[in-house]
């Protein structure tokens, strides 16, 4: 007979393993598309257009956009995985399998979030490997790259979980990524330095949290950043705490799960 802690650990492993198996089984829908999309970005923006753009802070345009594209892939894939998986479980009502079992809410949240994090990081790794076909990269700080990668993947996975909790139909799963995440990501310094913007837009951009995340990650790879790295970490951690509390409150209340 297992102790309660062992039971909880088995429940967590079960959710996580199920999540990983799910996205690995449909790898042509989850892992291959970002690799193809980013390869096109590297060819079109990096090689064709990038070759006509002056270096930014001493780095070629291709090298400059690699961290942003990696982080963009990590964030969107972590988010999409958790949002679609959680909503899918609600839609098929298989989420009830977990709800009737003695699985604490934090384990439900952690299981789904780690599943999304794993996919986000795996896609990020694939994009880094693809980028090496086009350019040369040296890592400025492994600790910043790894910690920011994990934190961002977890943060967006958590945001995806909240989206999945609220979602009532399939459209609700794609609404936030399409109308909020994508614009914020494109305006979040993935393809440009905010120093290239007019002063007013530079100030407005500061309020875009994705800029802080992308630029902190860029600092980890290239050693250059338009934002304060400590502030970037602080912001991600603060948002992580807020979203964690929010998701646990929603699960406790049974929002979108229990009538």
């Amino acid at each position: 007979m297992q102790t309660r802690s062992e039971q909880i650990l088995i429940a967590l492993q079960t959710i996580l393993f199920k999540e990983i198996v799910r996205f690995m089984r449909i790898w042509t829908q989850t892992l291959l598309p970002p690799a193809i999309t980013m390869t096109l970005y590297f060819i079109i923006f990096g090689k064709l257009i990038g070759s006509q753009i002056n270096p930014i802070s001493g780095y070629s345009y291709m090298q400059y956009i690699v961290p942003g594209l990696v982080m963009m892939s990590v964030m969107t894939n972590a988010y999409a995985n958790t949002a679609s998986s959680f909503f899918g479980a609600k839609f098929s009502r298989s989420i009830e399998e977990i709800l009737v079992a003695p699985v604490p809410n934090y384990v439900i949240a952690l299981g789904f979030v780690l599943g999304g994090t794993f996919r986000g990081l795996l896609v990020g790794l694939i994009i880094i490997l693809v980028s090496l076909l086009f350019t040369h990269l040296t890592i400025h700080s492994y600790s910043i790259v790894i910690s920011m990668g994990i934190l961002s993947a977890m943060l967006f996975s958590l945001a995806g979980l909240i989206n999945g909790i609220f979602a009532r139909k399939f459209d609700d799963v794609s609404f936030i990524p399409t109308f909020v995440l994508t614009p914020l990501t494109y305006l979040g310094g993935v393809f440009y330095s905010i120093k290239q913007l007019p002063p007013v837009w530079q100030k407005i951009s500061i309020f875009n949290p994705i800029l802080e995340i992308v630029d902190t990650f860029r600092f980890g790879i290239l050693g250059i950043s338009d934002v304060n790295v400590y502030f970037g970490f602080g912001l991600v951690c603060a948002l992580f705490v807020v979203l964690t509390i929010w998701s646990l409150v929603l699960l406790q209340k049974g929002t979108g799960l229990r009538t």
Binding site: I10, A11, V100, P102, R258, T259
Partner: protein
């Protein structure tokens, strides 16, 4: 010990619909308990609240002494629930559906695999264990839900219409298996629209109507309350003229089939003698409807009358 104790349980949905109006229910350990009611009476809401899928508005539930407000996990460890609707991922292999369910209960994989094999073989779906759920027939999906609910070897098994839409052979097989489980000590709560199923299997019964328990008693006592039964008799030949049976309400359904209402004080022997004297042999006899069904309809009608 009480396997389940429900006190003053009420549920009001966000749209204002009151599904439960403060019901009380006690199910003893080892009982085979029927929870009956019409569609929308509140059966599934009650089960939904017990299985943590619906939030209650008020009331208290304890499962084997574990209060669901304060010791939810301990209460859940005692429970197994077979829902009315299919609620598994249809694209998953059915073995994985059950093994994962075991994982949510903290059961190690090796033990879960053994149990899965045992229950799948017992329920006759072992040959399909590598197939996805969507490839199973309706009856097999029902058996999968039962196997999944049993994987944590619950002390209290709740079945919400487990035989809905399954063929007679399978229904009898499931009855046999449920009886076996009950004999081995599992407390069972059953909701069903097949009242002969409830009469056949259950020791105690509660009838719920419009969110209220209108009857909660022993099955035999309830059946004994039936004043009269309507029987169908098959006669060996058609009567030449109107068949006179002055002590009974009788009518011919067709040439050789007679429908006759028999009060509980009347003896079937006297009726048969009377028919024999008139030159008829009874070649077959059966209840027009199930006895519990007659009583159920009477109770629901009486409750409707008293509430208007």
């Amino acid at each position: 010990m009480q396997a389940l104790s429900v006190k003053n349980l009420s549920k009001k949905y966000a749209n204002g619909q009151v599904a439960l109006k403060g019901i009380d229910l006690e199910v003893s350990e080892g009982d085979f308990f029927a929870l009956l009611g019409q569609n929308g009476a509140g059966k599934s809401t009650t089960i939904g609240i017990i299985s943590s899928l619906i939030n209650k508005t008020a009331g208290q539930i304890t499962v084997f002494g574990h209060d669901m407000d304060t010791h939810l996990d301990a209460a859940k460890l005692c429970l197994g629930v077979v829902p009315q609707e299919m609620n598994f991922n249809p694209f998953e292999k059915i073995a994985d559906v059950v093994i994962n369910q075991a994982g949510y209960y903290g059961i190690p994989r090796k033990i879960a695999e053994k149990r899965m094999e045992h229950y799948f073989k017992k329920l006759g779906i072992w040959e399909k264990h590598k197939q996805a759920g969507l490839r199973l027939s309706g009856g097999m999906k029902r058996r999968l839900l039962i196997a999944r609910a049993l994987i944590n070897q619950p002390k209290l098994l709740i079945l919400d219409e487990p035989t809905a839409g399954v063929d007679i052979e399978l229904r009898h097989m499931l009855w046999q298996y449920l009886r076996e489980l009950n004999e081995q000590g599992t407390t069972i709560i059953l909701t069903t629209h097949y009242l002969e199923e409830a009469e056949h299997l259950c020791k105690n019964v509660a009838i719920i109507d419009h969110g209220e328990i209108i009857e909660n008693t022993n099955m035999k006592e309830l059946i004994a309350r039936l004043d009269s039964q309507t029987m169908i008799l098959d006669l060996d030949k058609p009567p030449i003229s109107h068949l006179m049976l002055p002590d009974y309400h009788a009518r011919m359904v067709d040439e050789t089939t007679m429908e006759i209402k028999i009060h509980k004080t009347q003896s079937l022997n006297i009726l048969f003698n009377e028919l024999t004297q008139k030159g008829f042999n009874v070649t077959g006899i059966r209840n027009k409807t199930n006895r519990l069904e007659e009583l159920f309809m009477e109770l629901i009608a009486a409750n409707k009358k008293s509430s208007t």
